[in-house]
């Protein structure tokens, strides 16, 4: 390995990258576009939510709640008197949400033991999640008045602390996925595209155009070109990651609950896995078209479907669940979701990063073996 040669190759890679509109589009434009599209879906104000309020018997408290929902502007509420009626409306899609008030609401308010049930049509999970959130916000606003004896809690919205419990049911889709999970999902997609797809494409292009044939007949070693390619595409992947995190956290308020350094470190490992897979596939196919198809089938699609980003792994058939163990993206999705939305859960971090590191080592060795200085 000669530093000056690696440096020269990296300079070449960098120039090519900057001059290749596709790479720039994949590295910078794609994260922005994907996040804005999905982010728009995440932050849409949902108005005119059709809601049924089930009031078993009229009371001052029930009227208070209904009037709050009516004056709020987000809800279109109808009042029904039986659970059956409400279910009927929900099934017929006349309403999307049902709020069930208990019997003896007044008494329960006095005893500070109010239990409410919110049922949401969750066939489209993201809006369902939002609607539920809206209802909780309205209820949090009305709660102090209902429990009028209680001085308002300065911190505000801790409903349960006030003896106010909301049970929610998401009908038709029990395993609702948080809209926040889209941001980690998109980061996975972007790192897979830049790492595996772009890398396999540019490497296969060098085979196809005969670049490698003439480069091989120089003192250059094959590990040097692998390293140079990885470094530059790694940089591009980091730019994509940075943009995604920035948009996700700043514009859409995805909480970054874990340590950012751990998050970035884990992302680096996943990016290396993707890069090595890309290099491996391109040296096996030596053809851009095959390399791209191969990469899409072996990395891109699994990172969508089998990673737990779109579909919950636990609800897959056992065979597919087994298969997901061999999809590196699965570990990264889990890692990212935990890191962004939950926090530093060390057993989880260690498990996922160990798996990713093993994949990185395995694919680097394979890429190195399959990239000898021969045709």
């Amino acid at each position: 390995m000669s530093p000056s040669r690696i440096f020269a190759l990296m300079g070449k890679e960098f120039r090519q990258l900057v001059r290749d509109p596709l790479s720039i589009a994949l590295g910078i434009l794609l994260p922005v576009v994907l996040l804005l599209i999905c982010g728009y879906g995440m932050s849409t104000d949902i108005r005119n939510i059709k809601m049924a309020v089930v009031v078993p018997e009229p009371s001052r408290e029930a009227s208070l709640i209904i009037s709050r929902f009516q004056s709020n502007g987000f809800f279109d509420s109808v009042t029904v008197h039986s659970t059956q009626e409400a279910e009927e409306l929900l099934h017929r899609h006349v309403v999307d949400v049902c709020l069930f008030l208990p019997h003896d609401l007044a008494k329960k308010c006095r005893e500070r033991d109010v239990e409410l049930l919110v049922a949401v049509n969750a066939s489209n999970p993201s809006p369902a999640f939002l609607k539920k959130g809206y209802i909780e916000t309205v209820l949090a606003g009305v709660a102090p008045q209902l429990l009028s004896e209680t001085p308002p809690d300065p911190s505000g919205s801790q409903l349960s602390g006030m003896g106010f419990t909301i049970h929610s049911r998401q009908w038709f889709n029990e395993e609702n996925r948080s809209a926040y999970s889209i941001v980690p999902g998109i980061i996975v997609i972007i790192l897979t595209i830049i790492g595996a797809l772009l890398t396999s494409m540019v490497m296969a292009r060098e085979y196809e155009q005969g670049n490698l044939e003439s480069m091989f007949v120089t003192p250059m070693r094959s590990s040097e070109i692998l390293l140079a390619k990885m470094t530059v595409n790694f940089g591009l992947g980091m730019v994509g990651l940075g943009i995604s995190l920035f948009i996700g956290c700043v514009l859409f308020g995805v909480p970054m609950r874990g340590n950012p350094f751990i998050l970035i470190g884990g992302s680096c490992i996943y990016l290396i896995v993707s890069l090595c897979i890309g290099l491996l596939i391109s040296s096996l196919t030596k053809n851009q078209f095959l390399a791209v198809s191969g990469t899409i089938i072996t990395t891109f699609l699994p990172s969508y479907i089998l990673s737990g980003f779109l579909f919950e792994i636990k609800s897959m058939p056992p065979f597919l669940q087994l298969l997901t163990n061999f999809v590196p993206a699965r570990y990264y999705v889990d890692f990212l979701q935990t890191s962004l939305l939950v926090g530093d859960v060390w057993p989880n971090i260690l498990k996922n990063l160990t798996a990713l590191t093993l994949f990185a080592v395995l694919f680097f060795i394979l890429a190195k073996v399959k990239n000898p200085k021969r045709l």
Binding site: S2, S4, R5, F7, A8, L9, G11, K12, R15, Q16, R19, D20, Q209, G210, N211, L212, E213, S214, M215, F216, V217, T218, P219, M220, K373, R374, L375
Partner: protein, 522 residues
């Protein structure tokens, strides 16, 4: 310098096995240009890749600069310069950046580069283009840039895989003169492969490769002697034919040269084709008579293929008229296509259909059916000697036979106009001879034939030649007239070079420099 002992290399497995090199043994002495000559598929590229240690021989051994190509491939790769067929340039790096990259890979110190790069740029006349992207250079210029990249490390041995493929005669001549100069000034050995047999005379040594076997090695003179006694003052190509089959086919002659009063089949007037700002074809006019062989000559990018596509009705001209049998082409397109045969530059038959199935398909596509189709297929099998391969899949055929099949398919419907777009490039001399025999027969029977070619000896067969440069017609006439137009040049090639250079102020300087290179070199 180079020694190959019984080199054998097989690709593929089982039934698909292909012997790319079969017991090849030779030595090349230092300080000369060795030419590796053979048609496409002869094994030239495979041999080149063995010489620089990129492939591992199945049996036999290769030693280059005294180093074993398997055990010491890295050392060989440090010391040789290699230009693969596909250049290996980075198209979105500039000329200077490409050179710099290879210099860094070879670890050449800056002080060394400061004198070497300008000198190489001067020899190759690329000085003015250092800031241009490699992808925006012409084919000939790319070749020269690839040459500089390989020369930057002052290798003792240069290996060039088809450095002259797909460029016009002018650029080819220039490339060989540059190589000669390098050999003499830098004390280098050059091994260059080519499918153009007429380039043999630029070499000191020639190696004749055919179907993986080395048929002969020697100076061009020695090779020519192989055909002595078989024909008078044999050409290199005839010697090649003698080496392949032990005899030299008779030289071809037109039996019924086209007559002045033969009916005009195609009349083209002031044809213009523009793509955006770029004028691909600029005010071309010509007539093609029944029974005439009409040659379109010019470099890649001169506008030949665009003209062809307009004649076949594939592109609509921006301006100008094309008349077929006195009627505008646009009104006559269906009829015109039904009587036209077209052989494309690329192999466009179905590789996974057999020879017979391809013929049946193409015959059917042109509306030939039933008994007539069977008769025509029988004729084609016989005329192109495809009978033994009738049941073989087309992709398994050798290059020469693929070309024959393409020609056979284009002739099944007995067209009266035939278009041949570089239909013979890369074929072996036997197939090429066979090919031209048919073309002359067709013309003799009154068919109008329009061809494009890079081979100047093929242009000899044309009744009339039109030379194009940058979309314009710069000379029209018979081979004889073209020679006169080109300042009474001795050969058609010289005339072509002279004409193309006179016409173009930019190339004029280039050609002057070529002769300067020549004078310097010799």
């Amino acid at each position: 310098m180079i020694e190959c002992r019984d080199l054998t290399k097989t690709f593929g497995f089982g039934k698909e096995k292909l012997k790319a090199l079969d017991g090849v043994s030779f030595r090349i002495a230092p300080g000369q240009i060795a030419g590796l000559l053979g048609p496409d598929g002869a094994g030239k590229t495979t041999l080149m890749r063995h010489l620089c240690g990129l492939l591992r021989p199945d049996s036999g051994s290769v030693s280059v600069l005294g180093l074993d190509s398997v055990r010491e491939s890295a050392k060989i790769q440090n010391q040789v310069g290699y230009v693969p067929q596909k250049f290996g340039l980075y198209e979105n790096l500039t000329v200077a950046e490409n050179i710099q990259l290879y210099a860094s890979l070879h670890g050449i110190p800056k002080s060394d580069l400061a004198q070497r790069v300008p000198r190489l740029l001067k020899i190759t006349l690329l000085e003015r283009f250092t800031e241009r992207m490699a992808g925006k250079l012409s084919g000939g210029m790319k070749q020269k840039l690839a040459l500089i990249c390989a020369l930057i490390s002052r290798p003792r041995l240069m290996l060039l895989d088809e450095p002259t493929v797909g460029v016009d005669v002018l650029a080819r001549r220039e490339m060989w003169l540059i190589l000669r100069r390098i050999v003499e000034e830098e004390n280098m050995t050059v091994v260059a492969s080519t499918a153009y047999l007429d380039e043999a005379d630029y070499c000191d040594q020639t190696l004749i490769l055919f179907e993986g076997r080395l048929l002969a090695q020697g100076t061009p003179e020695e090779i020519r002697k192989k055909a002595e006694g078989l024909t008078e003052s044999p050409t290199f190509e005839e010697a090649f034919q003698a080496l392949i089959c032990g005899s030299v086919p008779q030289r071809l002659v037109r039996k019924n040269p086209v007559r002045e009063d033969a009916p005009v089949r195609i009349r083209v007037e002031n044809l213009v084709q523009r793509f955006g700002n770029f004028t691909a074809v600029d005010q071309i006019s010509f007539k093609i008579r029944s029974g005439e062989i009409f040659g379109l000559l010019g470099a890649n990018g001169a506008g030949k293929t665009t003209t062809f596509r307009m004649l076949c009705g594939l592109n609509r001209p921006t301006e100008g008229q094309i008349e077929v049998d006195g009627k505008p082409l646009t009104q006559n397109l269906e009829k015109m296509r039904a009587q036209t045969g077209y052989v494309a530059q690329k192999f466009s038959l179905y590789g996974d259909l057999s020879v017979r199935q391809n013929m049946e398909f193409y015959g059917g596509a042109y509306g030939v059916r039933g008994k007539l189709l069977q008769e025509r297929i029988a004729w084609a099998m016989d005329a192109f000697q495809l009978g033994p391969f009738a049941r073989m899949n087309a992709e398994k055929l050798s290059m020469g036979f693929k070309r024959r099949l393409a020609m056979a398919c284009a002739l099944l419907h007995e067209p009266s106009i035939v278009f041949l777009d570089e239909a013979t490039s890369g074929t072996d001399p036997i197939s090429r001879h066979e090919f031209w025999k048919r073309i002359l027969e067709l013309a003799d029977s009154g068919v109008a034939v329009i061809i494009t070619t890079h081979f100047m000896d093929e242009a000899q067969y044309c009744d009339r030649i039109l030379i194009m440069r940058d979309g314009r017609s710069i000379a029209v006439g018979s081979a004889e007239e073209i020679r006169k137009l080109g300042g009474n040049a001795e050969t058609l090639e010289d005339a072509f070079v002279a004409l193309v250079s006179d016409d173009h102020p930019e190339t004029q300087t280039e050609t002057h420099s070529v002769s300067a290179v020549q004078e310097d070199g010799k």
